[in-house]
Amino acid sequence: MRIFTVCTVASAAVLTTAITAKALMTPTEHAALTGVSTTAGTRTALGPEIPLAHGIVQVQVTCLGTKIVNLVAVQLPHDNNHSWDDSLHAAAVLRSEILSKQTTDLDVVSGATYTSRAYLESLNAALEVAAPNAPKMSPTPMS
């Protein structure tokens, strides 16, 4: 019984320490300009990490003036294969929609609501840095 208590207390201490230490490390909360190409005239910015229950969403955007020319999902939720498949799908749909329409009027991808919202949140923050004059992306609520 005494060994059991020692094990429990020790492991609780170890787990708490690990989590607290991790929490004390500063995450990327603000978008940052990562690259400016003078020849092509593009500006690239990395959005902040948006935490979700299944993982993290982080988007990198490349702009030419106020036009979005490229979008890369740097991190997507990958805690399990299910959420990974869903978020890959959502990221692909959102990317093609944004690149083709360049619009604020976007539907969140059904089945990946949280991922889509986080994707747009990270994108908007990145846009602030890359192209301050570009229109903001805003999701329309699902009907």
Binding site: I3, F4, C7, T8, S11, V14, L15, A18, I19, K22, A23, M25, T26, P27, T28, E29, E49, I50, P51, L52, A53, G55, I56, Q75, H78, D79, N80, N81, H82, W84
Partner: protein
């Protein structure tokens, strides 16, 4: 890797130097060299590099290292943004308890895989560790389940029941893992002392076998849902490999090798002898028994193929060091099973033996002078150890604890060994009584009976109560704990 003891006089068969003999039934007994009687070189060769205790510490450090590796895996795979709020922290704690719990489950199975080298060197401590870690594992797994549910319900803002149903419907792996958890929970509950007594050894043991399907069922969700494994091929392959290695060890040592041994040795009962009104000795013959490499003091798990007892296996110690074709065990009718054995066993019946197991052998001996203390049927493995101890009547004292002279076991054999000058037989008789001074095992009375008690290495075997009380008395009498070895008759 076989580090079985290879003492100098270990070659069976008559040799000029002549191994010690104990009588006509046991002609060629391997004796363990008296560590103080030989030259330094021979002594070094006969001793293991690490003592039982040191080896256990090394193994525990290795196991803890593996646990740290699981923590490191989590640390490297988790970005700092993942621990931004309470629900995230709960989910991370769930991941950690899951990782450590999965690892511990693997260790628990590996501890019971009956790896021969570990069984021979560490023996019953493996089972003790298994028991201690078992309760801790149940707590970790319960925490894992609880943390997943509360973490997700906080994060999604939905009640726990909705989250549970949602998770079970969306992820088939988790549904299977939930079944595994419920199986393990039943197993854990059956091991609580109160329930275990009620169930009895056999049913409790049968319940424990669900750990194997549970481990297999849980593995699917570790690979498919474990955030540390899904996108990290290296970690996934490594974890799969470790799991496969443990599964292979279990299949080899718990199924294949016992079956192979059975086919090879073809054990059967040759005769049964009554030692006392409620105690019988079973003599078992077979082919090439010496190749089992069993030592006096070790035990086998026996299955007697007789009506009414064939479906159960029970551990019993050898009550004599094996000869080249005979094993002997001594059984006292204390429970329903042992009484049934007495009624049902007949010469000629086949026997399946799984073993040998146990580190409680003369191999542990480091001192010249030895004291063996046996109580009840615990005398039997000590009787077998005494056969393999090299020494004279001054070196080896065999104390047998009993309340009256009629309760003494194997008196004839012990007296014969005394006549041959192998040991001194010392019956310790009398009730424990109310006054501590009446206890025949009182430290002062022990010192009186055995003046050089402090220079002796002590081997104790008996019921848990008797062993605990004897260790306490010996410690009070000044024997150092490292020189006390004990084996419990308990499950």
């Amino acid at each position: 890797m076989d580090t079985s003891p290879q003492p100098v006089a270990a070659v069976p068969g008559p040799s000029p130097s002549g191994p010690e003999t104990t009588g006509p039934i046991y002609p060629f007994v391997r004796t363990y060299p008296n560590p103080h009687a030989k030259s330094d070189m021979e002594r070094e060769a006969s001793r293991p590099m690490l003592s039982r205790y040191a080896l256990s510490v090394v193994l525990i450090v290795l196991v803890l290292g593996g646990g740290l590796e699981m923590l490191a895996l989590w640390w490297l795979q988790t970005p700092a943004a993942r621990v931004a709020n309470l629900s995230e922290e709960l989910i991370m704690a769930a991941q950690l308890t899951g990782l450590v719990g999965g690892y511990l489950l693997l260790i628990e199975v590996a501890l019971m895989a009956r790896l021969p080298w570990l069984e021979r060197r560490i023996g019953s401590w493996l089972a003790s560790l298994h028991r201690y870690l078992g309760g801790y594992l149940m707590m970790l797994l319960t925490m894992h389940v609880a943390l997943v549910l509360t973490g997700y319900s906080l994060s999604l803002g939905a009640p726990v029941s909705t989250v549970l149903m949602g998770v079970l419907q969306t992820y088939p792996d988790v549904l299977i893992a939930t079944i595994a958890y419920l199986l393990l929970l039943g197993l854990g509950l059956s091991s609580i002392k109160k329930f275990r007594r009620k169930l009895g050894y056999e049913r409790w043991h049968a319940v424990h076998l669900v750990a194997y399907p549970a481990g297999v069922l849980a593995f699917g969700h570790e690979i498919a849902m474990g955030a540390q494994f899904t996108r990290n091929a290296f970690a996934r392959d490594g974890w799969t490999l470790v799991n496969l290695a443990v599964a292979a060890a279990v299949l080899t040592h718990r199924f294949y090798l016992p079956l192979k041994r059975h086919v090879r040795h073809r054990l059967k009962i040759s005769h049964i002898v009554a030692e006392a009104p409620d105690t019988i000795s079973i003599y078992i013959t077979g082919v090439d028994i010496d190749e089992l490499n069993a030592q006096g003091g070790q035990y086998f798990r026996w299955r007697f193929l007789a009506r009414g007892v064939w479906f159960q296996t029970h551990p019993f110690s050898l009550s004599a060091h094996p000869t080249e074709n005979t094993l002997r065990l001594t059984v006292k009718g204390v429970g329903a099973y042992t009484r049934r054995l007495k009624r049902r066993l007949r010469p000629g019946q086949r026997v399946l033996a799984d073993g040998p197991y146990g580190a409680f052998t003369a191999y542990l001996r480091r001192r010249r002078r030895v004291l063996l203390i046996g109580g009840g049927v615990g005398v039997t493995p000590l009787r077998a150890i005494a056969e393999t101890l090299d020494g004279n009547e001054r070196d080896v004292i065999f104390a047998q604890r009993a309340s009256t002279e009629h309760d003494l076991l194997m008196v004839d054999e012990l007296r014969r060994m005394q006549r041959q000058g192998k040991l001194t037989f010392l019956p310790v008789l009398g009730k424990r009584g109310k006054n501590p001074r009446d206890d025949p095992m009182h430290p002062a009375r022990l010192r009186e009976a055995i003046p050089d008690l402090r220079e002796r290495e002590v081997f104790i075997c008996g019921s848990p109560g008797m062993v605990a009380a004897t260790i306490k008395n010996l410690r009070r009498a000044g024997v150092r704990r490292t020189y006390i070895h004990s084996e419990l008759f308990d499950f």
